[in-house]
Each structure stands twice: as structure tokens, then as C-alpha cells.
């Protein structure tokens, strides 16, 4: 994108054409124009993003519970108390937060890995020639298009212990298992949540990677064939390196989405998921809107934000190629 030349070219040309106004006045107008254009967006962003972030930082420094929630600006300032109890690994609150943090990292890694693998496989297969490609492409989009609350209700019917489709298949029909396991209670709840989250997310990887595969020049493969490379070698040596930049972005976005996951556990388990399926967003939600300890919830929000910012900056520096236009 040659943005640099736009302003000069645009305003000079406009200045030449509009003889009534002096070129200088017009150039100033041209310089102010982008600010006028983004002004409404900046104002709205201030209201819905910047203001809340600042208010959140402030409340994270106060003791804000249901007792003083109606007058939160007068809540007593406790400075780092919320952070201290949140970060103390031996305290009751900090211990849970660290555990939940590690669980959320594990969840993110598993969901992103599974979604990427499924999406990559689907994109690779749909990108070959065969009859019915368009139908598969449309079908694979559906999980992404469906409202999460609908599909998760469907999954809860799959995972139900007594009457669910999965236990019916595993126990009644095939006899793989003798006992009906609980899928939505105890340790299995974590895996059920991973499956549902990956089911929802992989079509995104599929779409992005399919678009990327289409842009791989065919000559590269022809050269590969001449050199006698197998399909797998071509994938490893040609496809993956070429689509690397798209991969890096897709993995970052899926990682951030998964780390912030709230909807899947909320619909699958309710406002308070079982311990094995409690992610950071659910924990903060519980502190803020179930226990109404908003000061603590805000402090955890700030910690999550700092962590995500740090990881994103590191990731972008390490894996994203620098471009002339950022």
C-alpha cells in the first residue's frame, strides 16, 4: 500500500482543481481531513473502550463489593491489595487464579492445535479437484455461522450422561465402554469443553488457510513434481513455508479467542462451570457478577490484559514478518 503518497497527491490534485480556494488552505484541510473522519470513531472508542479500561484500572485499586457498588466512585482505595491476593500462589484466591491461568493456557494450546490441524486438513482436501467440493466448503462453514448458544445446547445433548448420544453410542450400541462416564462433571468436563471449542473454531482456520492455499503459485508444485517430491514433501517444503505468514496470523487470532473463551463453558455448564472447566473469563465473571467482588475482578482483568499484551507483542515480533505498512 503506498499510503505515503496519497495525501500529497490527493490534496495537490484537489487544490489544482478547486481554483476558488487557495492551495495552502486546501492543503491544511487535506491534512485535517483524516482526523475529522476518525473523530466519531475515536469518540465512540473512548466511550466503549478507553473509558471502561481506565475505570477498570481505577476499580482494581479499590475494595468494591456489593455493599458499595451503587457508589463505586467512593469505594475505599486499597492500592495493590487486590493484586496481592490475586497473585499470591499460597492464598485461596491467588492459588485458584494461578491454577485457572495454567488451565486456560492448556485449553488454548489444545484448542488451537486441534483447530489448526482440522482446518489445515480440510483446506488441503477441499483445495484438490473432486466432485462436490462446493458442498463440503459450505458445510464446513456452518459451525462458524451458527450461534454458539445453539450448537452448545446440541453438544450438551451429545455429552449428557444418561440420555446423551455419545454414551448411547459408546455403551449401548458398540459396547466400547461398560460404564456410562460423566462427560460434563469432573475431569472429563475439560475435554468436553475442548472438543466443543475446537468444533466451533476449526472452520475459521479452514477458511483462512483455504484462501492462503489458493494463492500458492502452481509453478512451485510443478517444480516439486519434476524433482520427484512426494505429496507430503511438497506440503512440508512448499505449502507450509509459503502460507507461513497467514498461519502466524491465524494462530495468533485463534489463540486470543480461545484464551478469552467464555461462551462455550457458560452455555455448556451454566454460570459456574465445574472446576476442571473453569477458564479465566469464567473465574473473573464469577468474582464480579456472582460474588460481586468487583475490585478483585477488575484486578484480574488488568492482569489478563497485561499478559495478553505481553504475549501478543512477543508473538508479533517473533513470528510476523515486518511489512512496510503496519
Amino acid at each position: 500500500m503506498n499510503v505515503g503518497s496519497t495525501r500529497r497527491g490527493g490534496s495537490v490534485r484537489a487544490g489544482l482543481s478547486m481554483g476558488r480556494e487557495s492551495t495552502r488552505a486546501n492543503r491544511r484541510r487535506g491534512r485535517l481531513l483524516p482526523y475529522a473522519l476518525i473523530l466519531p470513531a475515536v469518540l465512540l472508542e473512548t466511550v466503549v473502550h478507553l473509558g471502561p479500561i481506565l475505570a477498570g484500572i481505577w476499580t482494581s485499586l479499590t475494595r468494591l463489593t456489593q455493599l458499595n457498588i451503587r457508589d463505586w466512585t467512593g469505594a475505599p482505595v486499597v492500592w495493590w491489595d487486590n493484586y496481592r491476593s490475586g497473585l499470591d500462589p499460597s492464598g485461596p484466591i491467588g492459588g485458584v487464579l494461578w491454577e485457572t491461568f495454567l488451565r486456560t493456557v492448556a485449553f488454548t494450546v489444545l484448542v488451537v492445535a486441534a483447530s489448526w490441524a482440522l482446518g489445515m486438513m480440510a483446506a488441503y482436501l477441499v483445495n484438490t479437484e473432486f466432485r462436490g467440493r462446493a458442498a463440503f466448503r459450505a458445510l464446513f462453514l456452518v459451525p462458524f455461522a451458527m450461534p454458539t448458544f445453539v450448537t452448545v445446547i446440541g453438544w450438551s445433548f451429545v455429552f449428557d450422561r444418561d440420555d446423551g448420544a455419545l454414551n448411547h453410542l459408546l455403551v449401548d450400541q458398540t459396547g466400547v465402554l461398560d460404564e456410562r462416564p460423566f462427560w460434563l462433571i469432573g475431569g472429563n468436563a475439560f475435554w468436553a469443553m475442548v472438543v466443543v471449542a475446537a468444533w466451533r473454531l476449526w472452520p475459521f482456520a479452514f477458511l483462512m488457510l483455504l484462501a492462503a492455499l489458493r494463492n500458492v503459485p502452481g509453478e512451485l508444485y510443478e517444480a516439486g513434481v519434476l524433482d520427484g517430491a512426494s505429496r507430503w514433501q511438497q506440503f512440508r517444503r512448499i505449502t507450509l513455508p509459503v502460507i507461513r505468514p497467514v498461519n502466524a496470523v491465524v494462530i495468533l487470532i485463534m489463540g486470543l479467542w480461545s484464551f478469552n473463551e467464555f461462551t462455550v463453558p457458560y452455555v455448556l455448564f451454566g454460570p459456574q462451570p465445574p472446576e476442571s472447566a473453569t477458564l479465566l473469563a469464567s473465574l473473573i465473571y464469577e468474582h464480579s457478577f456472582v460474588n460481586f467482588n468487583m475490585g478483585l475482578g477488575s484486578a484480574m482483568n488488568v492482569l489478563v490484559l497485561l499478559f495478553l499484551m505481553g504475549v501478543s507483542v512477543w508473538y508479533v515480533r517473533t513470528f510476523l514478518p515486518r511489512t512496510h505498512d503496519a
Partner: protein, 279 residues
């Protein structure tokens, strides 16, 4: 590349697995929605023995489904409609001008989409209670309050996607219009907006779809009067006696409009996502 039989079998197996995985929960929802209540309540059966469409009618009276639909429609439409004009202007600035602060603005737009919603929800909830204390306007539980929170995702998303589209439009048309004496306002209104109409519609639909399925904000900021579909159906599912077949029918009805919209506009939506994502 030539396809050997091994690869064809690999493809068949892969596509079969992906199809079964994709269809499983959808099939459970749809097949349960056409069973009589007695057949849904027992152990799951893959093939419905008796088929009825009654749940699709009864669901409307068991829960105030029409009110849920109306609430969801109003809030999602309003947030998409509010975001779009603001986003078109900002996206045009980002796509066409170099200005001090452009990088920072772009970074803010991109990063706010990645921030967890709960980070905005807690302070917005507090700000809403403060607005109530100062001005007597109750935003918690109201539709306008929910619209404001929906802007936290619909606005940056719209700016981001539209910037990608607008940057791809040829700028010669705009330059020619300027040479013909059209001012900047005229260029945006008469040239850019008509050219980008398909993109604007697609982005609006996308923002609408996300609002339609939103759970987090709606779970805190709606009451029994303003409840949206997502929260209404979740409440439906957690009652002590649940008409499961009706719940599933309501779920099918709730997803029809967005799935159709998505499939109709998929090409536009994908191009928008892809161009916004291009590194």
C-alpha cells in the same frame, strides 16, 4: 498433481471424519426438534421413530420466543447500524490517508477486538450504575445499554473489515471525481459509499450475526423483559422441567436467519476477513 488411489482414500476418510464431526451436534439438535416429547426424554435414538412438527409451534407459547426474537433483532440491528457510518469514515481515513497517529489508531482498533469482553463488561456495568445514580436513566437491563456494550465488538470489527475492502478499491475513480470538482464529502458520499455498498452490507451482516449470538453482555445486562435469544434459550434449558423438543425447535429457528445470511454472503465476508487479516 496426479492423484494416486492412496490419496483418494485418504481424502475420502478425511472428509468423512470432518463431515461426521461437523454434523453431529447439528443432527442432534434437528432430529430432537422433530420428536414428540416422550421420545426426546428417554435414551437418545439416532433415528426418530415418530416425527412431529408440533414443537415448532408450541415453542412460541411455552417461552416468550417472539419477545426474545424482537429483543435480539432490535439490539443487533441497532449496534450494527450505529457502527457502520462511523466505521465507513474511519476506514476511509485508514485506507486512503497517511496521518500522524494512523498507526496508533489502527493498533487500537485491532487490539480492542482481541481484548476479552469481560474486561469491558465489569467497568461498563459500573458506569451504567453511575449513570443511573446521576441522571436517573437505567441502562442495566435496558436495550440501549446492551447496544452500547455491543459496540465494543461491532465497531472495531467494522472498521477493521471495511479498511481492508476500501484499500482494495481503485483510487483512480476518487481522484477523477476530485479533478471534476467534487469535494471530500462528495467523494465519500457519492463515490466511496456506492462502490463499497456490497462490502458495507456484508460487514453489517457480520456484526449483526455476532450480536445475534452474544452471550456474555446479555447475561448480565438483560432482565426478563429485554432478554435476548441466547439468554432466553439458556434459561429455557435450565428450568426444572424442560420441553427439550421445543427447546431444540427454538434453537433451529434461532439459527436459521444467521446461517442463511452467512451462506449467502460468505464470499464477501471471507474476502473482508481475509483482507483485514493479510499480514
Amino acid at each position: 498433481m496426479r492423484e494416486g488411489p492412496a490419496f483418494r482414500w485418504f481424502r475420502r476418510a478425511g472428509l468423512t471424519f470432518l463431515t461426521l464431526f461437523t454434523v453431529l451436534p447439528l443432527y442432534v439438535v434437528v432430529s430432537s426438534s422433530i420428536k414428540p416429547l416422550a421420545d426426546v426424554e428417554g435414551t437418545f435414538s439416532w433415528i426418530p421413530e415418530r416425527v412431529t412438527l408440533a414443537p415448532y409451534l408450541d415453542a412460541w407459547t411455552t417461552v416468550p420466543l417472539a419477545r426474545y426474537v424482537a429483543n435480539t433483532l432490535v439490539v443487533s440491528l441497532a449496534s450494527a447500524a450505529l457502527s457502520l457510518p462511523v466505521a465507513v469514515l474511519a476506514a476511509y481515513a485508514l485506507a486512503r490517508f497517511a496521518f500522524a497517529g494512523r498507526r496508533a489508531f489502527r493498533l487500537v482498533v485491532l487490539s480492542t477486538q482481541m481484548v476479552p469482553g469481560i474486561l469491558f463488561l465489569v467497568p461498563l456495568f459500573l458506569l451504567f450504575t453511575q449513570v443511573h445514580a446521576w441522571f436517573g436513566v437505567e441502562l442495566v437491563g435496558s436495550r440501549p445499554g446492551l447496544v452500547i456494550t455491543f459496540l465494543t465488538f461491532s465497531l472495531p470489527l467494522s472498521i477493521w473489515m471495511l479498511t481492508g475492502y476500501l484499500a482494495g478499491l481503485p483510487r483512480e475513480i476518487e481522484e477523477a471525481a476530485m479533478v471534476d470538482g467534487l469535494g471530500y464529502v462528495g467523494v465519500v458520499w457519492r463515490i466511496v459509499v456506492p462502490l463499497a455498498t456490497p462490502a458495507i452490507v456484508a460487514v453489517g451482516v457480520f456484526a449483526f450475526i455476532i450480536g445475534w449470538g452474544e452471550v456474555l453482555f446479555a447475561s448480565v445486562l438483560t432482565d426478563s423483559e429485554t432478554r435476548t435469544l441466547s439468554i432466553g434459550l439458556r434459561g429455557f434449558a435450565s428450568e426444572s422441567t424442560v420441553q427439550w423438543n421445543q427447546l431444540m425447535a427454538a434453537a433451529v429457528l434461532a439459527s436459521l436467519p444467521v446461517v442463511l445470511g452467512f451462506l449467502l454472503l460468505q464470499r464477501h465476508l471471507m474476502r473482508g476477513l481475509a483482507s483485514g487479516l493479510a499480514p
